[in-house]
Amino acid sequence: MENLIGLDEEKLKSSFIELVRRTSSVLPDDVVAKIKEYQAKEKVGTRAASALDTIMENIKLAEDGSRPICQDTGTVIFDIYHPLGLRQSALETIIRSAVADATANHYLRPNVVDPLTGMSKFDNNGVGHPAIYLKQWDEDYLKVALVLKGGGCENVGTQYSLPNTGLKAGRDLDGIKKVCLDAVVKAQGRGCAPGVLGIGIGGDRAQGYTLSKKQLHRKLDDKNENPDLAELEEWLVEKANTLGIGPMGFGGGTTLLAVKAALMDRIPASYYVSVTYMCWAYRRRFMTVKNGNVEFD
């Protein structure tokens, strides 16, 4: 049996299964704290307040019963940083097998379908699924980020090419603000608001979306080190919450819980703003493995 990062294959696999269980059934503390913060702000007796109450109750029931917070357990996305010398193909095999077992345990719903035949892959092992992104880094430990990305919110994600004449959005910070606010209005409650926006500025189309998705790894209460982006994030949360869309689009002051933005360089001809929408069922967890010790966050 191969020794991977101080663990044998079986141990590493069971750690991955546990990571999936925690991600699917226990919402991260920073997300719960944010929902509570907004719950306290909505007037008692409003539709928005009862929607948030139901959401909080659901979070608790899922955690107590180790059951999926939402039945759409989404695209299963692993971002993995590993030390030099770890065999990627071995890691992939372990992850695929862990995902199959997690599905059998009902932590994940069979959620993978062939686009042409409509045939379901009952163990969630399909072409390109789970999504596994591997990167070798210079640290001596393994770090795994797992996001379960729901389909309802994925469908309202979007990408703008600046300038945008309809919105009078130019190639600058104001232009970025305008298109992002437009994305929130277009989404209404359909992404199961309140949501979080991940924004990727620059890059080509594929890089932009990837960057926007990576923002989902950030804690909701962190502060952007880039002052312009920090301002963008705050501005968008504040303005979006004056739009009156509210939880599920029922109306109210809780439309966005947070915005996280990042940039990368672009080429002169292109200026993309890529927006990923994450629903309130914000399922994201981390696992680190060092010298045979496994830690979850």
Binding site: C70, D72, G189, L243, G249
Partner: protein
């Protein structure tokens, strides 16, 4: 909070207005894509009694069968309703359905159908699969299980105080349209001041 017992009547349904918060009790029936297509194309008669006066739930539940053969609901949140837009109005009229539960709202054809038939659209909380599963107290039966599979079958759920909001009523009003238009206005105002 309004309490509504199912099955219900056209009179009761016409009293409901957009924005009302309602707790549903009684037997509701799940139906999604395959079931809607089947109802419109085949017009089956064996589901008439089951649907008469009650509400269709857009939901593909996760179910578990116990050793004694009875069914337990593992997760039962709403699925996106707009996929049934082409069928919904016809289904409601043909089977005298008094409402649908789903998420995301529906389009103009359904809105017109609600008005004509006397039915409403109830919005459930998207993602709240555990809370909603808990509101199901019994599973009286299932139709087309073998043929359609678990998520697509017609499941009868006996629910108690199932929480929903009326977002489209039988008078032509849609909360989705109202909030959509107001938020767009607000956005224009913000963009205009930049």
């Amino acid at each position: 909070m309004i309490k509504l017992a199912l099955p219900t009547t056209e009179d009761e349904i016409r009293k409901l207005k957009v924005g009302d918060e309602v707790l549903l009790s009684g037997v509701i029936v799940t139906a999604r894509d395959t079931a809607h297509k089947y109802m419109v194309e085949k017009r089956p008669d064996d589901i008439r009694d089951m649907l008469n006066g009650t509400v269709i739930y857009h939901c593909g539940p996760v179910m578990k069968q116990d050793d004694d053969g009875s069914w337990e609901v593992v997760a039962a949140g709403p699925t996106t309703s707009i996929r049934e837009e082409i069928y919904q109005a016809d289904v409601m009229e043909e089977y005298k359905v008094r409402g649908v539960i789903g998420k995301g709202g529906m389009g103009p054809k359904t809105l017109a159908g609600l008005k004509k038939t006397g039915a409403v659209y109830f919005h459930a909380i998207g993602g709240a699969s555990q809370v909603l599963a808990q509101a199901v107290v019994r599973v009286p039966g299932v139709l087309k299980l073998e043929e359609f599979g678990v998520p697509e079958a017609f499941w009868s759920f006996e629910v108690k105080d199932f929480p929903v909001v009326v977002t489209m009523d039988s008078h032509g009003e849609s909360l989705h349209d109202v909030i959509g238009a107001a938020s767009e206005e607000k956005m224009k105002e913000i963009l205009g001041s930049m």
